[in-house]
């Protein structure tokens, strides 16, 4: 196991009020896995990463990273993990090259020895190697941060929301990079608020308010969706949603791009029942079909359970 977490608790006290950031979570990550922690802001993703990288002490429970305890063996862990925080944390007034040299130096490795490991990513920023890190674009900063997190050949890589605020094209490229890293045997824990990235992970933990809703392969999470999911569209989508939600038979109706996704309270209801609910609205171009849920459907269903 690359990471084991048992009953991990983290509380913060703000003005005499206790906030439970992690409510006793447990999970493990196998060597060489890409494990996604998926959930909204405030779910506890960053607290978890900071505990596993030994930057924060837990209030209860235990955790190991690459066989070392986060409590007693933090110095060993720091040698072995790579961490890319959500906020850009390199030295803004050092150049690209200087940042990389700095991180190699504090880990006591030479860039030349480990260059193969970062080559593919570093080549993309090499043309800007004399530019100060603070003056790079978002995508370039991200690549540099990844190089600095990898230069000491960590066994486990922690990436805290690497794709937040990044456009769809750059997100895709970033995930392609992670998959190539995976082939080198590194274990990757990555957090993201984007549900559509779940499918790119080997396994995911869906996290909300300090607790996991589910820890599974993306395929199993989808298979475990309990109800029949219907997609509905018509000419006036907003009014369509209002019409559907007025029916007492309906459990949920959420907009999903060009469709609404609908579930019944009683799952024996059929397409004809949904047609009957929609009919009084006199919509044009109505389309109804039973569909496979995606991770976001599952997340919302688990949230409201």
């Amino acid at each position: 196991m690359a990471v084991t977490v048992q009953d991990l608790v983290k509380n913060y006290t703000v003005k005499k009020k206790t906030i439970e950031a992690l409510k006793g979570i447990s999970f493990s990550v196998e060597k060489g896995e890409i494990f996604g922690i998926i959930g909204p802001d405030g779910a506890g993703k960053t607290s978890l990463f900071r505990i596993l990288t030994t930057l924060l002490e837990p209030d209860g429970g235990s955790a190991t990273v690459d066989g070392c305890s986060v409590k007693d063996e933090y110095l060993q862990i720091r040698q072995r993990v790579g961490y890319m925080p959500g906020k850009f944390s390199l030295y803004q007034d050092l150049t690209v090259q200087e940042n990389l040299e700095f991180f190699a130096a504090i880990f006591n490795v030479s860039i030349a020895d480990n260059y193969e490991y970062i080559k593919e990513i570093y080549e993309q920023i090499a043309p800007f190697k004399d530019r100060k890190a603070g003056q790079l674009s978002g995508g370039m900063k991200q690549k540099l941060a990844l190089c600095c997190a990898l230069i000491h050949k960590p066994t486990v890589l922690f990436l805290d929301e690497p794709t937040t605020g990044v456009d769809a094209v750059s997100r895709k490229e970033f995930w392609e990079m992670l998959h190539r890293l995976k082939t080198q045997g590194i274990t990757i824990l990555v957090s993201t608020p984007y549900m559509d990235e779940a499918g790119l992970c080997d396994r995911v933990g869906l996290i909300q308010k300090g607790a996991f809703l589910s820890i599974e392969t993306p395929q199993s999470i989808i298979r475990d969706f309990k109800k029949t999911l219907w997609s509905v569209r018509a000419d006036d989508m907003y009014r369509l949603m209002e019409t559907i939600l007025k029916s007492p038979l309906i459990n949920s109706c959420y907009p999903f791009g060009q469709y609404h996704h609908v579930t019944f309270k009683d799952d024996t209801k059929k397409q004809s029942d949904l047609e009957a609910i929609v009919a009084p609205g006199n919509f044009k171009d109505v389309e109804i079909a039973a569909i496979q849920p995606n991770i976001e459907d599952c997340f919302m269903a688990l949230m409201t359970e």
Binding site: S137, G138, M303
Partner: protein, 248 residues
């Protein structure tokens, strides 16, 4: 139709030195329209939006917003628009009520109007009893909804939303779009940027910027048909991958 145009842009260009951030863009938005303004990081969206909000002067071209000229009447534009960004427009160390009062006040609403608006807004957002809570203490989703409501408290012609839904859970994100639809039903034009491609589908029309130019502008349905794509995600990837401008 002419009178329904609330944004009218023609050959708008912004240069910073030799760099053309916004390159000769033209489009119109009509009253009550939800207009998605998409593009990769660095494509020029923010620069274009700043010009439309009266915060940055164009290098050339024409634009009128809410009937006012971006060169000569930027102060009048600011009174007729609302703006909200991911980074929030709310003061974290003021209470919910103080934030509403502050924004309503600077937009010139009368005291009695402010009282009535605040009550209505607190009810709509289910924030009754929270009016004296510091904004800092609210969950992110509530902050976003409050920030949006405050951005349209003066009933502007247009509200500009710059990635308004980052980081919230999927249910809250959809509730937020419910507020957008309501604003649009009240004839407020919604000009919105997002990285969530499913949200592009909720827009009446979508424009996609690549290297400072608008490469595509149509309804989501027409764009998908034109690019022979199943989703807006595919349309976006197809166009954004043609970018040659370095992100720098």
């Amino acid at each position: 139709m002419q009178t329904d145009k609330v944004i009218s842009v023609s050959n708008l260009t912004k240069k910073f030195g030799d760099f053309t951030a916004v390159d000769n863009i033209s489009f119109d938005c009509v009253k009550g329209e939800i207009f998605g303004f998409l593009g990769a990081n660095g494509a020029g969206k923010t620069t274009a939006m700043r010009m439309l909000c009266g915060l940055s002067l164009p290098t050339s071209g024409e634009a009128s917003v809410a009937g006012f000229d971006v060169y000569k009447e930027s102060e009048l534009i600011k009174k007729k628009i609302g703006y909200m960004s991911q980074k929030f427009s709310l003061y974290e160390d003021l209470t919910v009520w103080e934030n509403i009062r502050f924004y309503a006040g600077i937009y010139g609403l009368s005291d009695s109007n402010i009282r009535e608006k605040s009550r209505q807004l607190l009810t709509e957002l289910h924030l009754e009893g929270q009016e004296n809570a510091l904004v800092r203490s609210l969950p992110l989703g509530w902050k976003q909804k409050l920030a949006f409501s405050v951005a349209i408290v003066h009933n502007p012609a247009i509200v500009f939303l710059d990635e308004p839904t980052g980081g919230v859970d999927p249910i809250t994100r959809r509730e937020f779009w419910g507020l957008i639809y309501e604003a649009s039903a009240r004839d407020i034009t919604v000009f919105v940027t997002t990285h969530y491609m499913d949200e592009a589908e909720y827009c009446n029309r979508v424009s996609i910027m690549v290297d400072g130019k608008i490469e595509a502008l149509d309804t989501p349905a027409n764009l998908k048909q034109h690019y022979n794509a199943d989703s807006m995600d595919e349309v976006f990837l197809h166009l954004a991958r043609t970018a040659t401008r370095s992100q720098d």
